[in-house]
């Protein structure tokens, strides 16, 4: 469990980061908290001859909340999210989800940017950000651009971010209504067997809008428009729950691993989503 030799950089500004990325292309990679990347390097599954530590780049660790929404810097840690009372008031699902990621030690290091940029289907924040309809801001040699979370994930470890781009922040429109992040895992620090992120807006006893995304049930996070649609206009009764679950199941494509076979995962995905919807609805 010893990584291959690598060159370590700790630049002070984004221009330097981009310059190193440009110079070394595929051979260079940025590191935020390092809690996904370093294990991969130690297992020699990731070969990173030029490692660029982002920790000294200013301006990427802020959480800004205003009328337009929430902007979370890429270097904000999962622990920061848990500790930020204003953020919790504005988007309580973030804290509920962050508390179900890894363990306290990992959460002090792991960042929002790293979690969403990583592209591992096991990461919880990509699904969460899809549920919240977040937008990721990336900067590259040609300047800044924005990529919606729902269009960011292409396959496992493949995202719409180019190799020479750095993710700088995540923007979330102010969420409304009830919320729930429900996750089944084998133990503390485990990735999800199945997880569901749900936001529901209630109006006059029925569902006005809903947003549903699932984690670790395909090679990317799964935003299920169909499942969300199945709830809209209903009183979120049993029939609506059944319809939402059925729609979600049509969108996911889990694979077998040590957590269990496909049939089990699908069943659990349904149960977890149902519970998430019920909890979100009760808070709506």
């Amino acid at each position: 469990m010893i990584p291959a030799a690598f060159e370590y950089y700790r630049p002070k500004d984004m221009a330097s980061v981009l310059a190193i990325l440009e110079e070394h292309g595929d051979d260079a990679r940025v590191m935020a908290g390092g809690h996904s990347l370093i294990p991969m390097m130690k297992l020699r599954m990731a070969d990173v001859p030029h490692l660029i530590d982002l920790q000294d780049i200013g301006g990427m660790s802020d959480i800004v909340i205003d009328a337009d929404g929430i902007r979370i810097g890429a270097l904000v840690t999962q622990a920061d999210i848990i500790d930020d009372a204003k953020l919790t008031a504005a988007a309580p699902i973030l804290r509920e989800a962050a508390l179900q990621i890894a363990d306290p030690q990992v959460r002090y290091m792991g960042t929002v940017g790293g979690n969403v940029a990583n592209g591992d289907p096991g990461n919880d924040m990509p699904g969460l950000m899809q549920c919240l309809d977040a937008v990721f801001t990336v900067v590259g040699p040609d300047g800044e651009r924005e990529i919606p979370a729902r269009e960011f994930y292409e396959a496992a470890y493949m995202t719409a971010r180019e190799d020479d781009e750095v993710l700088t922040s995540v923007s979330i429109p102010p969420p409304t209504g009830g919320y729930a992040y429900e996750k089944q895992k084998r133990k503390i620090g485990d990735y999800a067997t199945a997880a569901a992120a749900v936001q529901i807006v209630k109006g006059g006893g029925s569902c006005v809008s809903a947003s549903i995304a699932m984690t670790n049930l395909s090679d990317t996070p799964v935003y299920s428009q169909a499942a969300s649609d199945a709830l809209v206009g209903t009183a979120v009764d049993d029939a609506a729950l059944d319809a939402a679950v059925a729609a979600m199941l049509a969108d996911i494509d889990p694979s077998e691993d040590n957590r269990g076979p496909i049939a089990f995962k699908k069943h659990v995905a349904g149960v977890i989503l149902r519970r998430a919807i019920v909890r979100a609805w009760s808070r709506a």
């Binding site: 469990m1 084998r186 990735y191 040590n258 957590r259 089990f264 069943h267």
Partner: protein, 804 residues
Amino acid sequence: MKDEVTREERVENLKGMGCSRKRVEDARFTQGKGNYVDDIKLDGMLFGDFVRSPYAHARIKSIDTTAALDVPGVLAVLTAADLEPLGLHWMPTLAGDKQMVLADGKVLFQGQEVAFVVAEDRYAAADGIELVEVDYEELPVIVDPFEALQSDVVLREDLDPKAPGAHGPRKHHNHIFTWEAGDKEPTQEVIDNAEVVAEESMYYHRTHPCPLETCGCVASMDKVNGKLTLWGTFQAPHAIRTVVSLISGIEEHNIRVISPDIGGGFGNKVGAYPGYVCSVVASIVTGKPVKWIEDRMDNLMTTAFARDYHMTGKISATKDGKITGLQCHVTADHGGFDACADPTKFPAGFMNICTGSYDIPTAYLEVDGVYTNKAPGGVSYRCSFRVTEAVYFIERMIEVLAIKLDMDAAELRRINFIKKEQFPYTAALGWEYDSGDYHTAWDKALKTVDYDGLRAEQSQRVEDFKAGRTRKLMGIGLSFFTEIVGAGPVKNCDILGLGMFDSCEIRIHPTGSAIARLGTISQGQGHATTFAQILASEIGLPADSITIEEGDTDTAPYGLGTYGSRSTPVAGAATAMAGRKIRAKAQMIAAYLLEVHDNDVEFDVDRFVVKGAPEKFKTMKEIAFAAYNQAIPGIEPGLEAVSYYDPPNMTYPFGAYVCVMDIDVDTGVPEIRRFYALDDCGTRINPMIIEGQVHGGLTEALAVALGQEIAYDDMGNCKTGTLMDFFLPTAWEVPNYETDYTVTPSPHHPIGAKGVGESPHVGGVPCFSNAVQDAFRAFGNTHTNMPHDHWRIWKTANDLGLHG
């Protein structure tokens, strides 16, 4: 001299047996000041690491080390060809088999050691490993022992298929041994003619002890003096010294083995591993110290696994539940080499304790050991030799019989327990249980948890479930276990011909403090705390004035080490006996000082007093000084003693456990609501340490029962080589344990103690498992295999049609 201190205070000052003395080890451990093997740094020290096989079964066509040797810092790459001239390319195992140190022509399991790269630092070694080119030709892989016994594929081409193995004839080229206990025909007869017979097959899955500190060593050959020093994570340092001497030819006095602080062992650190041999050879070759430390994957995938027993049983009884006979067959998967760590005459350990706590008149056990393409091992993971397997088997068979009889499983146990007045009790499979009072313990346990109330609640829950009012089922797990620990009597227990006695040597210093050295080695059990307490009570000096030292073969007396809960039963006994020798001499000195006859003084807490004249006494402190400053006629100066203790019998701790669990039928998630553990380990030396041991053992039991496994795919790839997939519970997954006790001292142990470190694991595994199984009993479940992880519990529910 007037005594200001009351007798009670004098007892208290000793911090002797029975007091919850704080662990003296913890000051350094909690401050990060422990001294583990990887903390050892020597001048010029090199690092060695292995090239390991990616295949489970393959022929090695060639090994090219050129590119690796070009890596800056890489000094040497050892292969079997280099070790062969020294006769060290193979080594003997503790089970009478032999094992490749480095792959000799083929590999038999994934992760097997193929070459040893020696470099100036770990980084260079890791880079060198990448560049060793090994040309493999893949061979058919066998991961199923039943298939192995049918297959034409010969796993061990080095063995003559016709020749008997270390434990008698072999039935097939992939067969290792057959081991029997009990009476075959009479048992068959009883079962054939029984009123009721219950039958079950169960697989006790392969798992791993997974100590927090992995295995490792530092070998340092001093070429000038011809002395080899070997620091290592050894649970049996003296045995390692003897083995190293036997296989290397270095005379034993020129070898010093040191076990420094050890971060948990649980059986994983009993055996000898290729890393030790290669480090020694590399140090001899280079003349420099060489360190080898496993990483987590190496540890999980290659050094000693535990369990992997396929067990089939039949249990017979009368209609009203009196057990009449028990039959057990085991197919034991030992992996590529038979490297079990058991006493020589017990290739299946003490599996023949599988009649459990019950008075079963007739029984028969047969175990077949088999080779497969898996890692070698088969150690006793927090248990005495194969005792977890035995207790799991009988505690499941009891449940299965209860179902067959439509009887309450607690009641079935009660009517079959060996009765108090039957001890010492000779079981059908041969062991003589020294003592026990099972009914008292059982009644106390059931009463404390309100067993009847729990059953009533459970019936209500089943009704609610059937009526659709809940999706959670409730399981009540019961287990009553008898351990067999303290191996063991030299007449029937040895390892590599070394009798399993143990030892203690005591030196009292002139000012009334002492050092005691033992042949055992703590891996976290707190020996430095408890053995000082035994001595304090025996010799009347405060525990705080007694240093306990273990693990250095140059200073400690010979002993067989720490595993199988043997330290207190054997070395603890040696400690008491050596203490008594000190006391006997102290008595003579006291009598001389008090100018009375030897028999006119008697021991009282911390002193000898003249009988009938309590104001005339000499404290042990005074006696200690006198031993060094007075010429006493007929008595040698000094105050020292040594004792080698050969126990007359094993000790038999027992306990009664109850687990209450709620199971989410839809997700397969179990929630432990309550866990009650009553342990009877005989005399209790330090209640706080006992409680700690019980918590630890139960936590490892929870792990094994609920998810911890070493699993392979059909290609022999280990699927659980990291802590992501290998379940190591944290505080989060662990319930609040309730501990309790009864005290039934061992009649043959000098202080009546029986050993406790492993009992909770032995009793805990079936208790957690029975809770899961019991939750589904009302729906027709008789048995499902561990580990009960979420998906397997879900599958049980699904198979029973509970998902609608």
